[in-house]
């Protein structure tokens, strides 16, 4: 089947087609706006609804569960999970080994989204205490979490070796940002609850941690996006998976003169 010239041009970072750059920038802008609203609304608007336990403050505060920022961060992680699943499908269709790594990435991001929505980590503490009381084995959740974390890290390391450079660095940056910000947010939460530091510092640190978590998820979404080219072709779209080693390009001088795409 004849292909258009445009379809032969690989997109850099997977962002040339379909406005995905605009999507990423818009999503980042929404994250920044939500973090700013969480700080600014109670600070600047003096009303019972925006102070203390006021309904609007609770609806916008990134420190509170089941509200607008929680929905947003849960959704960003979910969309990143769907992006990894799509990259897995494209990889499998292209018969490139390692599609399962994308599936693992999708599953981990889905669990992180679930955790963001349901405070799964805190809840497993109750289950862990029960298991520890029954078995006498201390820290079962921490041990299981560490083993799972090592497995996920190993899987992403395998994936990073099988994708092109742009995807690799986006994966590394995304994982480092998500993990670092989750740790920073947890630390800030502990300090805020214990009153160990100035409230303002802890509040800013917690907001920065929340925002960084969103940025990490967006980097992981962009990583999955950069593994697949989305190329407009006529009235449709063509999806093409990229490997670590691109197919060798044929230099024009080796092809020789052509007429209508056929060697003369």
């Amino acid at each position: 089947m004849a292909r258009s010239v445009r379809s032969r041009v690989p997109d850099r970072f997977g962002v040339t087609a379909f406005g995905v750059t605009a999507f990423g920038v818009t999503a980042f802008g929404v994250s920044v706006a939500l973090a700013a609203a969480s700080i600014a609304v109670p600070a600047l608007i003096h009303h019972p609804l925006t102070r203390g336990d006021g309904e609007l403050r609770r609806y916008l505060d990134v420190f509170v569960d089941s509200n607008l920022p929680a929905w947003w961060s849960t959704g960003v992680l979910l969309v990143a999970a769907l992006g990894h699943a799509t990259a897995g499908v494209a990889s499998r269709i292209a018969r490139i080994p390692g599609a399962w790594c994308w599936w693992v990435g999708a599953a981990v991001l889905a669990v992180l989204s679930l955790d963001e929505h349901t405070q799964l980590y805190e809840r497993t503490g109750v289950l862990g205490d029960e298991i520890a009381a029954l078995t006498g084995w201390p820290y079962p959740v921490a041990v299981a979490g560490s083993v799972a974390g090592l497995g996920v890290t190993a899987t992403l390391a395998v994936l990073a070796t099988r994708v092109r450079a742009a995807t690799r660095w986006l994966l590394v940056a995304g994982v480092a940002t998500v993990a670092g910000c989750a740790a920073a947010a947890a630390l800030a939460q502990d300090l805020l609850l214990s009153g160990g530091v100035l409230d303002v510092v802890a509040v800013l640190a917690y907001h920065a941690g929340w925002l960084g978590g969103n940025v990490g998820a967006l980097l992981l979404l962009t990583a999955a996006r950069s593994a697949v080219s989305v190329i407009p072709e006529g009235a449709g779209i063509r999806l093409r998976y990229h490997t670590a080693t691109p197919p060798p390009a044929v230099a024009p001088h080796l092809v020789g003169p052509q007429r209508n795409g056929v060697p003369a």
């Binding site: 019972p48 089941s66 969309v79 494209a90 779209i237």
Partner: protein, 241 residues
């Protein structure tokens, strides 16, 4: 059946994924029903399991699932709209409107927005003692949702149209109709088995409605495998010729 040759066009259908998501919704409903009606099966941690699995709860596994289903449907509608726009199909913008509507439903599902708006409204204006005050804005919102999706259905054809109509009817029927039934059961003091079954049917129906709307977006495009690549074309445009 023999596998297609590597370079032969091969259609990719969404039905396996739809069946998987339907299975997930059914399993979550059955698990919730079990944890509510047969607490003895869950031992000393029953309360914790119920908090995490009961579809009536908040910030738990079933609410994440239903919110995620709505977000996925919204994303699918947005991508279908983009494919329709690329194909210059008239009315493709309707998919962006439905994506916005599904996003709003997801926000409401996740954050209990309609219940919060009642509390905010109470702080700003005075209500009388009408207990279902939220139903009025709820009905207005429901009509807006139905109008957006029905207008889109008029612009598309075939299975996509019927999936849109059925999905909208099931989603709104369960969200508004069965919630009203629950309110009547609560008012009559019937909060035992009938109430439990009603809210499970409501949550499962909402999930099925969202899944039908997701399937509508999936059937609006044709996905064809060409060797190692996928071609996506918008096919739901209704021809008036």
């Amino acid at each position: 059946m023999t596998a297609p040759a590597p370079h032969q066009p091969h259609p990719v259908t969404p039905w396996r994924a739809v069946a998987l998501v339907l299975g997930g919704s059914l399993v979550l409903s059955a698990t919730s029903l079990t944890v509510v009606l047969l607490p003895q099966l869950f031992g000393a941690l029953h309360r914790e399991w119920r908090t995490y699995l009961d579809v009536l709860g908040e910030a738990n596994l079933p609410t994440w699932w239903s919110s995620a289903l709505l977000v996925t449907a919204a994303l699918a509608h947005g991508l279908t709209g983009a494919a329709g726009r690329l194909a210059r199909a008239p009315g493709a913008a309707g998919w962006f409107v439905s994506a916005g509507v599904l996003t709003a439903l997801s926000v409401d599902d996740h954050t209990q927005l309609h219940e919060r708006s009642g509390r905010i409204g109470r702080a700003l204006v005075t209500y009388d003692s009408f207990p279902f005050y939220w139903l009025l804005p709820g009905v207005v919102g429901g009509l807006a949702v139905a109008a957006a999706l029905v207008l889109l259905a008029l612009r598309v054809q075939g299975a996509t149209r019927w999936l849109l109509v059925t999905g909208t009817a099931v989603l709104l029927g369960c969200a508004l109709g069965l919630e009203l039934v629950q309110g009547m059961l609560m008012a009559d003091g019937h909060e035992a088995t009938a109430f439990t079954l009603t809210y499970h049917v409501e949550e499962l129906g909402e999930n099925i409605g969202a899944l039908l709307l997701l399937a509508a977006a999936a059937t609006a495009v044709s996905v064809t495998r060409h060797g190692s690549e996928l071609d996506v074309h918008y096919t739901a445009h209704r021809s008036y010729l």
